[in-house]
């Protein structure tokens, strides 16, 4: 392996000092002169028509500058397809926006909301995904009969993947040694729960120029999306450091629109920052996922067919559900070698807060329900799940339909070594006792182990552009629309440029994520930061360096290819006694600018396997997570601590812990989310950390000059199904949904005669 100066070495995050001294300005830390605060009146009904709204009293409250209702809101539309108005005459979940207020202070805004008089006509509501599809079910949108969202949306090109239909199911049935069937669901709609709630500040100049500061994970794509959704407005999007997102704050129109509408109405800057209850009860959560599935298998663990109905509950609207389904369908094929498929998703809307993008992006939701069905077959064939995944995970030369509906063939690497190394680090051989068998029993405590797998081919999704500018003093500036959301990606692209230009890391900086100065950037999603964003930056740096050498070559009377540069000095390779500074080529008043552009490439799947060990107290039903090992192969580590941090992230952001205790509790009589606070919504604390280890291999990928790919996004995704498996093995009984709270464990163990056993509750 090549020994780099920066790549692969632990270096200080560029933003570290600001973070630890509290100087980092997150969105709610910004303010503008004359700024107003936005507040949202939220619906008490899960489904209702607004018969009348009287805002007169609210408008009269001193300090109130605007009150907007569906009657006077701009006709901007979000969602997939466009179906979500900023305010509508119909509300579709408890917490849906009814009216907007802009006021001098937050307190005044809150009081104004209480003065708005609304008369509703309540409508029946529906929450269950299959009930919503029944003919007599309440209809959320006229244009979506049966509450089923349309397919064929041009989300990823003209022909996005909306199902997996391959081969011939009858053939698969004929070839099978046996068939298993089951229903599993991952419908606890865990919340990504970023510590910083969604927030934005909107400022208009004139009638059609809008500047938005936001906590968006993708500030540049936000500009593109807003311009499309708002018509002709000229939008400038300013990214700020993101206080956690985990996907949820990528598409930010839901909270930018209210600020923009109020700013337009008042001609003053308007800030909106959701409170925690709003984030938990009226912002996007994970998709609900339920599968009735059937799998044909041979005794050697090969799968002859997979057939199933995948019910995807997207709540009150689809923010990106069909896109997540497309990626989930692709990811299922990466996990499972199978010639005959008939996996049919249905994206359905219901009367609860909407689902949106979350780390795991459809694939995690699918796997949490699909992998357990596969385990029914593994149990029957008595196959070790590690062997099963090793056999079935996509290998170089094997293909899959990806999100664009096209057939792609893996040009990546074989992950067998990563799987074996993970198993070794975890001690799988010693702990695995067979299906539904504990690895150890001590008194009332039973331990069990489980394993899960995930991967995507999105490390090379979408377009990234970057410029790299070289300054005469040896410094380099990266022009990128990348906002820092915790992965250290802004620092990592600096490392790449420093490595290429061989200058100290301190000499490389990145522009603010300002869409008016930077080229296109899709954003750090889908683990695409290392490969896609990195490739654009690398190309830009290499081109800038070439320009520099073109300028300098005549001075040395050599060709540009013969030159080298280190620490801002240029010399002929092998002859470093004679050096010239960059300024000798650029002059005092010159710079050179390289441009890089990454085009989508879906040929390099990444990979993550998670091994878990749990301990179940059979008298209380409590499940404790004892040990976690994740196994992956990243090609080349860019920054070791950042990578480890990302892998440790498998617990929260609605990852492993969504199998243990994380859930959004919905009262389906009232349509209300009962735990919109951080006491009743459970999250893991410092006091209860499992033993955590990682097996990270570095087999070079054919990606870019550093042969690396990203894995951050997928770190949590194999976790929940691994825990479900581990608990089943610990207690010897299967449980069919998440999370594995004491009531379910005790019920499965037959301890509670007063309650019905098993199934979904």
């Amino acid at each position: 392996m090549k020994d780099y100066r920066f790549i692969g070495k632990a270096t200080t995050r560029k933003d570290a000092l600001d973070i630890v001294t509290g100087k980092t300005k997150f969105i709610n830390d910004l303010s503008f002169p004359n700024m107003l605060y936005a507040k949202v009146l939220r619906s008490p009904f899960p489904h209702a028509l607004i018969k009348s709204i009287d805002t007169a009293k609210a408008m009269k409250l001193p300090g109130v500058k605007a009150v907007l209702t569906y009657k006077d809101i701009p006709d901007w539309m979000g969602g997939l397809p466009r179906h979500v108005r900023v305010l509508d005459s119909k509300v579709r979940y408890v917490g849906d926006a009814v009216a907007l207020v802009a006021a001098e202070t937050e307190e005044i805004g809150e009081e104004a909301l209480r003065l708005i008089i609304v008369e509703y006509e309540p409508l029946p509501a529906v929450y269950d995904v299959e009930e919503a599809m029944q003919p007599e079910a309440p209809q959320l949108y006229e244009q979506f009969p049966g509450n089923v969202l349309p397919r064929g949306i041009r989300v990823f090109g003209p022909n996005p993947l909306q199902e997996v239909v391959i081969g011939d199911i009858d053939q698969g049935i004929a070839e099978a040694d046996f068939i298993v069937e089951g229903t599993y669901s991952y419908e606890n709609i865990p919340n990504p729960l970023p510590p910083e709630s969604p927030g934005a500040i909107a400022v208009w100049e004139g009638e059609d120029t809008l500047t938005v500061w936001s906590a968006s994970q993708g500030p540049h794509i936000l500009k593109v999306a807003l311009q499309k959704m708002m018509g002709s407005s000229n939008v400038r999007s300013m990214g700020s450091p993101v206080g956690g997102s985990y996907g949820s704050k990528y598409m930010s129109w839901q909270y930018v629109f209210p600020a923009a509408a109020l700013a337009k109405a008042t001609r003053r800057p308007v800030k909106i920052c959701y409170g925690r209850a709003e984030q938990l009860a009226a912002f996007t959560v994970r998709l609900g996922s339920r599968i009735h599935g059937k799998v044909g298998m041979k005794m050697d663990g090969s799968v002859t067919f997979l057939e199933g109905d995948w019910f995807v509950n997207t709540g009150a609207f689809s923010e990106m559900a069909q896109g997540m389904v497309a990626v989930g369908c692709g990811e299922a094929q990466l996990m499972l070698k199978c010639a005959n498929w008939n996996l049919k998703p249905k994206v359905v809307c219901t009367n609860r807060t909407a689902s949106g993008q979350v780390r795991g992006f459809g694939g995690q939701e699918l796997k949490c329900a699909l992998v357990p069905i596969l385990t029914l077959g593994m149990e029957k064939a008595n196959i070790d799940p590690v062997d099963f995944f090793k056999k079935n995970y996509v290998k170089p030369g094997e293909g899959y339909y990806w999100r664009d509906g096209e057939w792609w063939v893996s040009k990546g690497i074989d992950f067998t070594n990563a799987i074996e190394e993970g198993a070794r680090v975890f001690g799988w051989q010693e702990k695995w006792q067979g299906w539904l068998k504990p690895s150890s029993v001590e008194g009332t405590k039973r331990r069990g182990v489980g394993v899960g797998v995930h991967g995507n081919a999105d490390v090379g999704e979408d377009v990234s552009e970057a410029f790299v500018r070289l300054d005469p003093d040896g410094k380099a500036i990266i022009y990128s629309g990348l906002a820092e959301h915790g992965t250290g990606q802004r620092s990592n692209i600096c490392k790449m440029v420093a490595e290429i230009l061989q200058i100290p890391l301190e000499w490389v900086s990145v522009t603010a994520a300002d869409s008016s100065i930077n080229p296109f950037e899709f954003g750090p999603v889908g683990s695409r930061g290392t490969y896609a964003i990195g490739s654009a930056v690398i190309e830009a740096a290499e081109k800038a360096k070439k320009q520099l050498f073109d300028l300098m070559a005549p001075k040395f009377k050599v060709t540009p290819e013969e030159l080298e540069t280190v620490n801002g000095m240029v010399y002929v390779k092998g002859k470093d006694e004679e050096k010239l500074p960059w300024i000798a080529g650029l002059g005092y008043h010159g710079t050179c600018l390289g441009r890089g552009r990454f085009q989508p490439d879906f040929t390099l799947p990444n990979f993550m396997m998670i091994f878990t060990e749990v301990e179940v107290d059979t008298e209380t039903g409590k499940v404790d997570l004892i040990k976690v090992v994740s196994a992956t192969d990243v090609g080349q580590i860019i920054d070791p601590p950042s990578l480890i941090n990302q892998l440790n992230g498998c617990l929260g952001s609605a990852g492993i812990d969504s199998a243990l205790f994380e859930e959004t509790v919905l009262d389906t009589r009232l349509g209300r989310i009962m735990n919109p606070n951080m006491i009743d919504y459970k999250w893991r604390t410092f006091a209860e950390l499992p033993e955590m280890e990682h097996a990270i291999l570095e087999t070079p990928f054919p990606s870019h000059r550093f042969h690396a790919i990203g894995v951050g996004e997928i770190a949590p995704s194999p976790g929940p199904s691994a825990v479900l498996m581990a608990v089943a093995n610990a207690i010897g009984v299967r449980i069919y949904d998440y999370p594995l709270t004491p009531d379910k464990i005790l019920s499965a163990l037959g301890k509670m005669d007063t309650l019905k056993k098993g199934g979904r509750g």
């Binding site: 408890v94 909301l113 209380t620 009262d667 005790l746 509670m752 007063t754 309650l755």
Partner: protein
């Protein structure tokens, strides 16, 4: 938070006068860790006009021991209970319970009196006004308790009739097992009441012009073993799903005295007298303890989604009595 007037109180007398003057429209603020949440979420139909800071009454921040037992001022923060050598030596169960409360920061702020007077955590009662309006449940003068046929996993399994919320206080459970009393100051003078009698189905016995000033804990038998167990999904932050406290005296292999209290199962800490009676005079074998635990939960009437609390309660009684 909506505005209110505020006063830093200098004395108990001043507080009582203010409470009497405001007739229910003034609220006491001790640690603030419960009250401020109630005010921010606007969960109650009425909003206070005045907040009275009582932390400024410094003489109520005290831990003293005399021949009869321990006297703890109502404004003593939980961290002082945890750090007190007096508590550690003779009343260790107080510390055992105090360290399970919430988080280090909260324990630095929250007081003993506040822990006893905190409002219930029932999530219908606590539903924030900003997301479609607060819920007017039975406890707030509404007609029904929405938990009965709703999301009741954390609700009462015993003794509930109209409101199924549970008493969230951990300190109440251990104070009950220790047989503690509370000194209450009010317009009509001072009265003492046992912790057992302090709670009512809708809260507690305090009338609008009263406050707790002292907590009086009789000295437990030096040979009695003290145990407190709290079942939660997470060790920090969480309120008890079920808790159990025991005071068990064993003399030459025989249980001569047993006090067992269950927490978070009802509107007050529940003393399981039948189980206590059964345990007394017996050798505490596994079978005897199991039968005691069964008897402790005989009266349980779980709701649709909280029968698991009965199992957990039995287990905690068993473990608390066995001292493991």
């Amino acid at each position: 938070m909506k505005a209110f007037a505020h006063i830093n109180a200098c004395s108990v007398g001043e507080v009582i006068q203010l409470l009497a003057k405001y007739q229910g429209k003034a609220k006491l603020n001790a640690g603030g860790t419960d009250l401020l949440g109630v005010l921010k979420d606007r969960i109650l139909p009425d909003y206070p006009e005045l907040i009275i800071n009582i932390k400024t009454i410094t003489q109520l921040n005290s831990i003293e021991e005399n021949d009869e037992g321990l006297r703890i001022g109502a404004l003593t923060p939980l961290i002082n209970i945890i750090a007190s050598p007096l508590v550690e030596k003779t009343y260790s169960i107080l510390k055992e319970a105090a360290v399970t409360v919430a988080s280090p920061q909260i324990r630095n702020m929250a007081t003993m009196g506040g822990n006893l007077c905190q409002d219930t955590r029932c999530w219908y009662y606590r539903y924030p006004d900003e997301i479609g309006g607060m819920i007017k449940c039975f406890r707030k003068g509404g007609k029904t308790c929405p938990a009965v046929t709703g999301e009741n996993r954390y609700h009462a399994i015993m003794e509930a009739r109209k409101c199924f919320a549970v008493c969230p206080s951990d300190m109440a459970v251990v104070l009950t097992v220790l047989g503690a009393t509370l000194t209450i100051a009010g317009g009509g003078g001072t009265r003492d009441i046992s912790v057992e009698e302090f709670f009512t189905p809708m809260g507690n016995v305090l009338v609008p012009d009263e406050m707790i000033t002292m907590i009086n804990i009789p000295k437990p038998s030096p040979v009695a073993s003290q145990n407190f167990l709290k079942f939660t999904l997470r060790k920090p932050i969480d309120f008890a799903i079920v808790s159990a406290a025991s005071l068990i005296t064993i003399d030459r292999g025989i249980c001569t005295d047993a006090r067992v209290i269950l927490g978070a199962v009802a509107w007050k800490p529940i003393r399981v007298s039948e189980a206590e009676g059964f345990l007394r005079g017996k050798e505490l074998t596994e079978e005897v303890i199991a039968e005691g635990a069964r008897l402790a939960l005989v009266g349980a009437k779980p709701l649709s989604k909280n029968a698991y609390k009965v199992d957990i309660a039995k287990t905690l009684v068993k473990r608390a009595v066995a001292g493991c």
